[in-house]
């Protein structure tokens, strides 16, 4: 398993979140924008294990909750769980493959948005959109878009980390 500096994880998540809140809205397609935060959490989970996935997911979700207007901790729970589960499959995952990364990101985008829908449905106000409609109009575009963006981002992350054994342990 690769090792990573915890501080780097927080810094990258913060940078990606600011990028997403600041400018990514201008490249929306079919109402969806690529979820860079989710891509980062999945990356950390796949390369650094379920612990890193859970931790980065919780932090990223908490920061997203500060921006959003849902019931608090909806994003924390969703991203935390997503990061943890992505970490669990990391040992059986071919990490260097862009195609595998694309499929994983599409799957986990669908998973996390569906989980979010369930949380809102259970704990928040009634929704004006049914799940099948939500799935077709929001989840599929977001999943594909995020998956496509994850391919170059995955390579950038691999280059940034130069994924070798590091001195610092998470």
């Amino acid at each position: 398993m690769y090792k990573i500096n915890r501080f780097q994880i927080y810094l990258i998540i913060l940078a990606v979140l600011v990028l997403q809140a600041g400018i990514l809205n201008s490249i929306k397609i079919f109402g969806a924008k690529p979820d860079l935060v989710l891509i980062s959490v999945i990356f950390f989970a796949l390369f650094f294990g379920s612990g890193a996935g859970l931790e980065s997911g919780l932090i990223a979700g908490f920061l997203q909750d500060l921006f959003a207007f849902d019931f608090f901790f909806a994003n924390t729970l969703t991203l935390g769980l997503t990061g943890f589960i992505a970490g669990l499959i990391s040992n059986n995952f071919f990490k260097d493959s862009s195609r595998a990364e694309f499929l994983a990101v599409v799957f986990f985008t669908i998973w996390s948005m569906s989980l979010h829908y369930i949380f809102i449905w259970l704990f928040s106000k009634p929704l004006s959109i049914s799940y099948p409609e939500f799935f077709i109009s929001a989840v599929i575009p977001a999943g594909l878009y995020t998956g496509l963006v994850s391919i170059p981002l995955h390579k950038i992350f691999i280059n940034i980390y130069n994924l070798k054994e590091a001195d610092d342990y998470l």
Binding site: A21, S26, F30, G31, A32, F67, F69, M113
Partner: protein, 259 residues
């Protein structure tokens, strides 16, 4: 020291010969010069060619430098043009906003959008005005073409606006043509849906949707959007209409907050 006789003789001979040469030199000199010039002319020609080439090269070097400077200036001017285009577009937007601000019968505060909700679920924006500028919770936010949302969280120098496309947003609306009422709810895909439209209502695509003014948040008759699709959900006793918002809420850069 006295000069020897032989030295004096040598000097006299040299002077005599030189004098003779000088006196009879015209033809000798001419021939010598011609031959010398003939001999040296290729060298001169080469030097001349080289000099010409150098003279030709020196302006090229200058031209190259001039070209570089001109290219830099073109790049600079192109950047200026791009900046001016952006400023011009901003100027047009702000002029429209100012004209709209004068036309609305409310006291408004213009604000700039500085951030957006990072998730794919919610739709809210962050603006650069807050309580210090007199903003208060639940006040409507507009732009030139219509309703944007309402203020939900107010900081000292920033505030969060819940867009009408957010799933948590509910707005009482009317279909302008037949005054049929309904509730406009946001959806995670960035569109809006009017629910609770009576089954016998003749709502059709193209109908304009305006605020009803029933509650205390949104004033009456503010443009919201246009109906794009009408349908009926199975098992429900009302129709619904999908609405395209008057403003493209994903591209907002400035908004007007009603005080």
């Amino acid at each position: 020291m006295r000069a020897k006789k032989s030295d004096i003789f040598k000097a006299l001979v040299i002077i005599s010969v030189t004098t003779l040469l000088v006196v009879n030199s015209k033809s000798i000199a001419n021939q010598s010069r011609v031959k010398f010039v003939d001999f040296i002319s290729p060298v001169l020609k080469t030097v001349k060619t080289a000099a010409s080439s150098v003279r030709a090269i020196i302006p090229f070097a200058t031209l190259r430098e001039e070209n570089r400077i001109l290219r830099e200036r073109i790049n600079l001017l192109n950047r200026r043009i791009d900046e001016l285009k952006v400023l011009s577009a901003e100027n047009d937007r702000l002029k429209t906003l100012l004209a709209f601000r004068k036309s609305v019968p409310y006291s408004t505060i213009p604000a700039q959008v500085i951030g957006r909700d990072p998730t794919n679920w919610s739709n809210s924006i962050i603006i650069d005005k807050g309580s210090l500028n007199g903003l208060r919770e639940n006040r409507p936010v507009l732009f030139t073409k219509g309703l944007v949302g309402r203020l939900i969280e107010i900081g000292r120098t920033s505030a969060k606006v819940l867009l009408i496309t957010d799933p948590n947003s509910k707005v009482g609306v009317l279909i302008e043509r037949n005054r049929q009422g309904g509730i406009l709810a946001g959806r995670p895909d960035g569109r809006c849906k009017v629910v609770y439209i009576a089954l016998d209502s003749d709502v059709a695509p193209g109908d304009k949707v305006i605020t009803a003014g029933f509650g205390s948040v949104f004033p009456k008759d503010i443009m919201v959007g246009v109906v794009t699709r009408v349908g009926k959900e199975p098992g429900r006793l009302y129709k619904y209409a999908i609405v395209k918002t008057a403003e493209d809420l994903s591209k907002l850069e400035e908004v007007l907050c009603i005080r």
